[in-house]
Symmetry: C2
């Protein structure tokens, strides 16, 4: 099996304030930018052959240099993202689709991942590739630890309580058979329809293919602000 991974990395450029007035362009864990760890996981996943990254125009050179100096040979394209995350993924999908239409060979699966989730393990990525080819679509998730309630009609108060045993928190990488994901994004772009995530998009256009659950632990967190870094460092140390 072979899969292409799309990394949505438009949000990685938030400036990190450090003690002493210094700042860094990228949030770091264990001395490396978050996105470095993310790319390393895909580099080490045996089922992934190519990585496409969508990011802000300002970060393209930075990410290309990082991939080169780290020896991440799977990084094939670093391109500019779009207005919304879905637009960024769509930009990558068009490039994959165009690039492979000549040879007529699409990959078995396409995975879409948040650049800000550095702790996904290579073997988890490989499992998701396998299950998405098998079932059509596969998405990682875990059980919420807290009770979940709706916000009420008065937004300062709670509404109904959801039945927690029926809920999952979902993450990325979300994996799909390549043709299904390309087709779903194509149709969504035509309609101008935006979904919460790629799974919701595929569910809309391929309702007969339920999305397989891949239950992970609690390490696959999303790191977006400096406040997330102490917890991220702890998870990083625990995973080493």
């Amino acid at each position: 099996m072979n899969a292409i991974a799309i990394i949505a990395a438009s949000g990685i450029g938030k400036r990190m304030q450090l003690p002493g007035g210094r700042s860094k362009q990228l949030l770091e864990i264990g001395g490396f930018p978050v996105i470095h760890h993310t790319l390393k996981a895909f580099e080490d996943a045996s089922q992934v052959t190519e990585v496409y990254i969508a990011t802000k125009a300002d970060n393209i050179d930075l990410l290309q240099d990082m991939a080169r100096s780290a020896g991440f040979r799977k990084v094939r394209h670093v391109i500019e993202g779009g207005k919304e995350r879905q637009d960024s993924v769509w930009n990558c999908i068009r490039m994959i689709s165009d690039g492979h239409s000549g040879a007529g060979e699409l990959p078995d699966a396409i995975l879409v991942h948040d650049g800000a989730r550095p702790f996904i393990r290579p073997e988890e990525i490989d499992d998701i590739v396998r299950l998405s080819v098998e079932s059509g679509a596969c998405v990682p998730g875990n059980r919420p630890k807290d009770t979940i309630k709706y916000i009420g009609s008065d937004p300062s108060c709670f509404g109904a309580t959801l039945e927690r045993s029926r809920l999952m928190q979902v993450q990325t990488p979300q994996g799909f058979r390549a043709g299904m994901l390309i087709d779903a994004h194509h149709r969504a772009a035509e309609e101008g329809w935006y979904a919460t995530d790629d799974a919701a998009l595929v569910e809309r256009y391929f309702p007969d293919y339920p999305v397989r659950i891949y239950e992970t632990g609690y390490h696959n967190i999303k790191i977006t602000t400096p406040e997330d870094i102490p917890v991220a460092e702890a998870i990083y140390q625990a995973l080493l």
Copy 2:
């Protein structure tokens, strides 16, 4: 204003395996058991006058000794919990209710808290007391960071995606006007009805009193297994 806090601490006795084959009876953070930090927060909250703890029979002496040696003078009773968490809270409520029926004076509010959430701040506890007296009920929560989906009719697949902007993850301490919480628990005990949390119980019997949202950060986590400890240590260090 004055409030009594009920701490549900039946789950604190899980044995923590340490490197080298040693084990400790209680999970620890920063050299103190999780429950020590929890009790300290309530000790330091100016609106809380008394603390009732419900725990396993085996842990009663241990917690009484801990409270005494730490100088936690608000800990009034450490009693045996019941079969379910709700039974444990009900045991404390009956004791509060009986103890105050003679003098005819209930506290303004009763707070119910998970012993395994050590990072609630004293000033947050005081805010929740104030808001629960003002509105009838107040519960802390924060926004889910991940998309939430239902588990499907086939439990290996996802069902519908929930609208994340309408959801809150809820925690404790959950605060209520004393009479409302006592009455709701009394009626639930008569009916034999069990709720997800105390808020759901009060919502059932006092539907005209919507539960106020108190939005917290992401520090108020629940610590239940040794795997939670590295993240907990990181939050502890960041809060110091």
